[in-house]
Amino acid sequence: MTRPEIIAQIKTVISDCFPDMDVSALEEDSVINTDTAIDSMGFVLVICKLEAMFDVRIPERQWQKLSTLGDVADAIQKRLPKA
């Protein structure tokens, strides 16, 4: 899966979790807390759905460090099985 595809999937999940949110303007460097106003529990919801979608497991200790959309994509990408 390519990086743009991962980013697109992340935006889809955010949109599913928060239907009122406009995700079209989100970029790799968008900060999740402020640019999306997703709170800590909303973030848990998004990560859980992403883990299920990509069949990966991101250690909970790492969650605090995921600041931008790009950080989330990195965490997913490095855990995807190599093609």
Partner: protein, 446 residues
């Protein structure tokens, strides 16, 4: 049952109900007799190892619980650490609290091991929890197995559980509310404590473990309600460790769940007052505790069985809040005509300006939030003047314009001097309180 310490508690139930489930973690069940055996065996290993202070990088697992009880049995000082903290801060805390051994994720403990110290003498029985650090840098609060067991007894006198109950522990054990109300409350009553499997399972744990009782912080309860994650068997929810909007409590009560609200501090080994009647914010004082109000409404607590020994290596800070055995909480309250305690605010959330003007922040900020329709804001001072820190996108001129009617109704000294914008989230504690000290530092750099 009232127990002197952890060993007395576990020994009693291992004798009285050896095969009753004490802990569940995933599909593993640990009976009371098995738990006592496992703790004693690990304690023997710790004694043989000769270490004096164990830092627990708490992950809430079964082995985590065994390790912390075992270290206490073995006469070690125990320090409860939040494993999600940044590594530099963890290293600082390890050095501050004299930790010479770590329990936790092997990769993390390896990474932190260079910070280990030579240990401590005279720390036997100490269990250290860090305060939330709402107003200043976090301090380690020295509690003991005894004080924590008395706190659990106090709570169980207000909200008794039975051996037929299952208490779900979803809160971090590195926080005293999670430790006492998520773990000890159940164990002291001989109930089964189901250990939550972490944030990843927030939506599934209730329907997996089918608890009858749950302790939660407001944001977690809100999340569980919004995601329809609560199970029908759940009869009691104890909410604490932060202000809780009434609509959250009402939503839980509407499901037929008894919702209680607790008030306490790390310094008092958790709760000192719990609501048990219809109004969740009208709290009865726990049996071992005496609460009085100072002239300005500050809540003063006399909790001889549950009070901290002091702040670790901070006699100055201890003396500032603990005077003649009475804890000056910094919280404001009132008693209603039935003698129930209501929390009305936080004295430390008062800004005192150079001209003597005082701003009571919760009330002040609530007015701004209402006027602006934006919750991620807070007020602090910069150069002695009140300033608004606005987290997220915004336009300072537009915000100032919208605040004009509010400011017009305030004394000049209380009017905001500046709007500071930041893309970063506001510094908050794990329970959502604004870290006032950190906010002030941040405002100075904006």
């Amino acid at each position: 049952m009232r127990f002197e310490d952890f060993e007395a508690m576990l020994s009693y139930w291992a004798e009285a109900a050896p095969e009753a489930p004490a802990l569940r973690y995933n599909d593993t069940v640990c009976q009371y007799a098995e738990l006592l055996d496992a703790v004693r065996q690990r304690a023997a290993e710790y004694r043989a190892g000769g270490k004096t202070c164990l830092g627990i990088l708490s992950d809430g697992s079964l082995d985590c619980v065994i390790a912390l009880f075992a270290a206490n049995f073995a006469g070690m000082q125990v320090v409860m650490l939040d494993e999600s903290l940044p590594e530099p801060l963890l290293r600082e805390l390890i050095r501050y609290t004299d930790i010479d051994a770590l329990w936790g994720d092997p990769e993390l403990t390896e990474e932190l091991s260079p910070a280990l110290t030579a240990g401590v003498s005279g720390g036997a029985g100490n269990i250290l929890f860090f305060t939330s650090g709402t107003t200043e840098r976090a301090k380690a609060v020295v509690l003991t197995g005894h004080s924590l067991c008395q706190s659990a007894w106090n709570g169980s006198q207000m909200l008794p559980l039975t051996p037929a109950d299952t208490l779900l522990c979803m809160l971090p054990m590195a926080h005293v509310f999670g430790f006492v109300c998520g773990l000890l409350w159940g164990l002291s009553c001989g109930a089964c404590v189901a250990l939550g499997r972490g944030a990843r399972y927030y939506m599934r744990d209730c329907k997996y473990y089918l608890p009858t009782a749950l302790s939660a912080v407001p944001v977690l309860l809100d999340f569980l309600l919004r995601t329809d994650a609560l199970n029908p068997e759940l009869a009691t929810i104890l909410v604490g460790a932060g202000d809780c909007p009434s609509h959250i409590l009402s939503a839980a009560a509407a499901r037929g769940i008894r919702v209680c609200f607790g008030y306490g501090l790390t310094e008092t080994s958790s709760g000192v007052a719990i609501s048990t009647g219809g109004d969740p914010f009208a709290m009865a004082v726990c049996p071992d505790d005496t609460i009085t109000l100072a002239e300005d409404g500050e809540i003063l607590i006399d909790a001889p069985t549950c009070m901290m020994r002091g702040y670790y290596k901070r006699p100055d800070a201890t003396a500032a809040v603990l005077q003649d055995g009475i804890l000056h909480t910094g919280d404001l309250g009132r008693f209603d005509s039935d003698g129930r305690l209501h929390i009305t605010g936080r004295k430390k959330d008062i800004l005192v300006l150079p001209d003597g003007t005082k701003i009571f922040l919760p009330e002040y900020e609530a007015g701004l939030i209402q006027a602006l329709g934006h919750t991620e804001l807070a007020v602090t001072t910069r150069d002695g003047r009140p300033v608004l820190v606005w987290s997220g996108e915004g336009d300072a001129k537009d915000i100032a314009q919208r605040l004009r009617p509010v400011m017009a109704g305030l004394p000049r000294g209380q009017q905001l001097a500046e709007i500071l914008l930041t893309p970063d989230p506001l510094p908050r504690t794990a329970t959502g309180k604004i870290k006032r000290w950190e906010l002030q530092q941040k405002a100075g750099n904006l």
